[in-house]
């Protein structure tokens, strides 16, 4: 009895201890709970809000590029896409294998997906396939349960209704590279494209717009529960360019067979009406990624299809430079318009001999005749009298050797040498013989076709320092530069300029002119003025000259001369200028002038001021879409 009692006493004591311990444990837990919930509650509540609210960006539609009549030359098309979120599937490989059974995946697709998966964070969707057909979308939706991690959505892809004709000017868009990431969070979105070249790149920020955002309540898996707030973004703005789509296409077709470039400017304000470079490329190929083989073909092609020769091709201006030499000479009073200079077909300076293109020489010539017949000896003499530095200064006023104001990336400044430049870069003094060579636009001097067009425009528009540009309006707002008065004068006397216009009119419209064969046909109802140019790619050796100059067609392609032409029309009241270069075309009058004639004729025929009706749309988006499928 007593033992039982003592045992029970021990038990009771210990059970009470256990009870106390339990109470203490529960109290401790409650204290901890109080600490977490009440004392630190605020901190955790913030964390909880971050947890459940996810901000997603909505990419705005990219602005379109329009031609001067409002016709789209870069537009958007709905693009059904399938995307993969790596963290929502246990086995990326299995998901892709299932996907490939439903919608085929090429090796290139797989490589790109793998690369994207490696590069992006696991919750960022990666595009598996885009440009899906409706039936493919339907099949994916039906099989959605077997495709964990796959989402489908509709995005926008870029289309270029004008295709290759516009490739260099409009440029193209491509997925952003590391270097493109400029802090805009939009660039991390799947399927987003940035302008990589041309106007797409120049106006990228404007075209891109600002991403809207939507605050979503999501669960831990990322599934959207509901939308909390939405902030609309700003769609990219449409940009109206100065291009005339019809003219651009005409010009592209006209030079398609050659390695060439052509530009048409409105001489009064510098608007680029057409700018083509040949050969070209299909800009839409960049949207989905260019294959290695295609890229190799483009970059090793000696005709450089990716280069916009109109702004980045550097050529000696040749005889097209003679007007600038003449204006420099007139300003320096080194020559008067009426002074006659004798051309014997050869000018000697010390031991060196400088040849005229015509072996027998031109005889006595005044300035107008010298330009008209493109006499070289006349300009050797005039250049010698004027000096290279004066010629260079005049060149700069006409935009040569100066970076052009055009908005396109990659426009080059070319080169106009001076004595100081020669000393600084070559370390030797300028030779007078070099001045003679530069009198006919050869030697160190280099210019782009665009600069030659600008030069011509400033010569025929009353001496206004127009800068070439492609942007007429941004989001409907006309930008500055459309009126001639927006541009300053370059300060060349009108009498000198009139003389140049007159002489250039003679080049085309008089029998002895070098471009007589390329005068405009009568149905255009206006005359063109211009100047031919032929530049040597390599020095003609003495031996060759002794044997007699061979015909250009007999030379290997790479040895043939570049053919140039700058022109304007109408002669009496100039509105348009054009510049044409045909690489290795042989001669300016034979190869470049006819092209310029055709382009200028088309320009004048399309001029709304000269016609009663606006031109019919020349690009058909529907047709372009059909081609893409």
């Amino acid at each position: 009895m007593r033992r039982e009692r003592s045992r029970r006493a021990v038990f009771t004591r210990r059970i009470l201890l256990v009870g106390a311990a339990k109470t203490a444990v529960m109290a401790a837990l409650a204290a901890r709970l109080y600490h977490l919930q009440v004392v630190e509650g605020e901190r955790y509540r913030t964390l909880a809000d971050e947890n459940r609210i996810s901000v997603r960006l909505i990419p705005p539609p990219r602005g379109r590029l329009l031609d001067r009549f409002g016709e789209p030359i870069a537009a958007n098309r709905l693009n059904w896409r399938a995307m993969l979120v790596a963290e929502r599937t246990d086995d990326v490989g299995a998901t892709l294998a299932t996907f490939a059974r439903i919608v085929p995946l090429s090796e290139a697709d797989r490589a790109r997906i793998e690369r994207d998966l490696r590069r992006r964070r696991r919750f960022v969707p990666v595009v598996v396939r885009d440009h899906l057909a409706w039936e493919e979308m339907a099949r994916l939706e039906v099989n959605a349960p077997d495709l964990p991690g796959i989402l489908t959505d509709v995005g926008q892809s870029r289309i270029y209704p004008g295709g290759e004709a516009f490739a260099h000017v409009v440029g193209y868009v491509a997925p952003p590279a590391e270097a493109d990431l400029d802090g805009d969070p939009m660039l991390e979105l799947p399927g987003i494209r940035v302008g990589r070249a041309g106007l797409e790149r120049a106006h990228d920020r404007t075209l891109r717009g600002r991403a809207g955002s939507v605050r979503l309540e999501v669960n831990a898996v990322g599934r959207v529960i509901r939308e909390l707030a939405r902030e609309e973004g700003t769609p990219g703005q449409d940009i109206t360019t100065s291009l005339d789509a019809g003219l651009q296409q005409f010009a592209a077709k006209r030079i398609a067979a050659e390695s060439a470039a052509a530009i048409v400017l409105d001489a009064r304000n510098g608007e680029v009406m057409a700018m083509v470079s040949s050969p070209s490329f299909d800009p839409s190929l960049f949207d989905s990624g260019v294959s290695a083989a295609q890229w190799r073909e483009w970059t090793t092609n000696r005709r450089a299809p990716l280069i916009n020769k109109a702004i980045a091709g550097l050529y000696a201006p040749g005889s097209t430079f003679k007007m600038v030499v003449a204006l420099a000479a007139l300003e320096a009073r080194a020559v008067t318009p009426g002074e006659r200079i004798f051309c014997a077909g050869l000018t000697e300076l010390g031991d060196a001999k400088f040849h005229c293109w015509r072996r027998g020489g031109h005889g006595w010539l005044d300035l107008r005749e010298a330009i008209k017949q493109s006499c070289d000896c006349y300009f050797y003499e005039v250049a010698k009298r004027t000096g290279i530095d004066r010629i260079a200064a005049m060149s700069n006023r006409f935009g040569l050797g100066v970076e052009p104001g055009i908005e396109l990336p990659g426009a080059r400044a070319g080169l106009v040498p001076t004595r100081a430049w020669k000393r600084a870069t070559h370390g030797v003094a300028w030779q007078q013989g070099e001045t003679l060579v530069h009198g006919i636009g050869q030697g160190f001097i280099q210019a782009t076709p665009l600069q030659l067009a600008v030069m011509t425009a400033r010569m025929v528009n009353g001496g206004r320092a127009i800068e070439p540009h492609l942007t007429r309006a941004v989001g409907g707002q006309i930008v500055r530069g459309a009126k001639p008065d927006d541009w300053p004068l370059i300060g060349v006397p009108e009498a000198h300029l009139r003389l140049m216009r007159d002489a250039m009119g003679g080049v085309v419209n008089e029998r002895a002119g070098t471009a007589w064969a390329s005068r405009l046909p009568p149905e255009v109802g206006a005359a063109m003025g211009g100047k031919t140019g032929t530049t040597q790619v390599r020095r003609i050796t003495l031996a060759e000259r002794e044997r007699g100059l061979r015909r250009q067609q007999d030379l290997p392609y790479e040895w043939r001369h570049h053919a140039l032409f700058v022109g304007f029309a109408p002669v009496e009241n100039p509105v348009y200028v054009c510049a044409v270069i045909i690489e290795h075309g042989g001669g300016g009058s034979a190869a470049a002038a006819p092209v310029a004639r055709d382009i200028m004729a088309e320009t004048l025929l399309r001029d709304p001021a000269r016609r009663d009706t606006t031109p019919a749309p020349s690009l058909r988006i529907a047709a372009a879409e059909q081609r893409e499928r």
Binding site: M1, R3, E4, R5, S6, R7, R8, V10, F11, T12, R14, I15, V18, G19, K22, T23, V25, M26, L29, A30, R32, L33, Y34, L36, Q37, V38, E40, G41, R43, Y44, R45, L47, A48, D49, N51, R52, E217, V218, N219, A220, V221, R223, I225
Partner: protein
């Protein structure tokens, strides 16, 4: 007085026994299970499917089972103590050989559509077996170290089997439970101190032999932020949810953390987190209060019992329940490693609910049969 005592020895009628069941305690359990129903209803997005309805059904079934066990004479339970223990061990071995693998551990036995987690049942059977061993022992015998060796082995066998599953948390609970029964039986303080000291010495050796995931759990527990999206994710999200609940909670069905699935396993192990998020500190503390009342009630049953067997059984079962509750709550608050321990009567899960109610059935049997004479017992007062 004498007559009543004789009547007890003769045995009670069924009606008497049912009348002796503590309906207050049943009501208390019903309240706790009701909390569970509400939370599971909320966890499913205010829908009785898929959890809440089945939870209610199981509770009803478990309650019947509990009352059924409550009217079984405690002396039958005493007599069956060792055979039942042997059955439990066999089940544990079976689960090790043929059990279902879930979440990296073999814990479940599929008994034709009914899944059983033998390690849960084993703890109750262990308590009964230990009580059977100690019920006739005087304090002097309990003081003899040799007398403690068989029950120690009886504790170590199931603990070792559970550890091998592997289920570290349950193994520790089993050991603690065994220790509690030893303590209630009157084993000297210093012996516990010695064992704990030995455990501290052995800990590094055991750690070496642990599974990677078990080590990871321990490491993650020591620094949860080190791996926020891996093993520490549960704990961090749980703490965020608790904190977001604040003093008065976000309201029923409004717990964004749990409703939005940031909280993993919200219907099982982390149901207390959800409760605390939706009902706040006030609600969670109230539920903890209910749990404490249930525990103290169990201890009161133990104290009121006239025989040592009943006392030890009641104490052991109550401690088992208390361990579950405190381990689960401590776990969701990030105080101890996450260990797959449900909150009894509240968490979703059939096996746990049934086992807890079987345990309470035995407890209730002790309560109903608190005054019976058990042969061989030291005469009670």
């Amino acid at each position: 007085m004498m007559e009543r005592r004789l009547a007890r020895e003769r045995g009670m009628t069924l009606a008497e026994k049912l009348g002796a069941v503590s309906w207050t305690f049943v009501l208390l359990l019903g309240l706790i299970a009701g909390v569970g129903y509400a939370m599971l209803y909320s966890a499913a997005g205010l829908n009785p499917e898929p959890w809440a309805f089945r939870h209610g059904l199981r509770f009803g079934f478990g309650l019947l089972l509990m009352i059924g066990i409550a009217i079984v004479d405690i002396r039958i339970i005493l007599r069956l103590a060792w055979p039942l223990y042997a059955v439990g061990i066999v089940l544990l071995v079976l689960v090790a050989l043929h059990g279902q693998v879930g979440k990296g551990a073999q814990r479940w036995l599929d008994l034709g559509g009914f899944q059983l987690q033998p390690s849960e049942l084993m703890k109750i059977l262990l308590v009964i077996a230990l009580a059977r061993w100690f019920h006739r022992a005087s304090l002097e015998r309990v003081g003899n170290p040799l007398f403690l060796i068989p029950p120690l082995i009886a504790v170590l066998i199931p603990a070792g089997l559970v550890l091998r599953q592997p289920n570290l948390g349950n193994a520790v609970i089993t050991l603690t439970l065994g220790g509690a029964v030893f303590f209630a039986a009157g084993v000297r303080w210093w012996k516990f101190v010695a064992v704990i000291a030995a455990a501290v010495v052995a800990a590094p050796i055991v750690y070496e032999r642990l599974h990677d995931y078990q080590r990871q759990r321990i490491l993650t527990f020591l620094d949860p932020e080190s791996d926020p999206l891996g093993a520490g994710y549960h704990v961090i999200q749980s703490k965020i949810a608790l904190g977001a609940g604040g003093m008065f909670g976000r309201g029923f069905g409004q717990g964004t953390q749990s409703q939005l699935n940031f909280l993993p396993e919200k219907q099982t192990d982390f149901i207390f987190t959800m409760l605390a998020e939706e009902w706040g500190f006030v609600g969670a503390a109230a539920v903890m209060g209910l749990m404490l009342v249930a525990m103290l009630y169990g201890l009161a049953i133990a104290l009121a019992c006239r025989h040592q067997f009943g006392r030890l059984v009641a104490a052991g079962i109550t401690v088992n329940f208390a361990l579950y509750v405190s381990v689960n709550i401590a776990m969701v608050m990030g105080m101890i490693p996450v260990g797959g321990v449900p909150l009894p009567l509240v968490s979703h899960g059939g096996s746990a609910m049934i086992t807890v109610l079987i345990g309470f059935g035995v407890l209730m049997s002790v309560h109903v049969h608190r005054s019976v004479e058990i042969e061989g017992e030291l005469a009670g007062g």
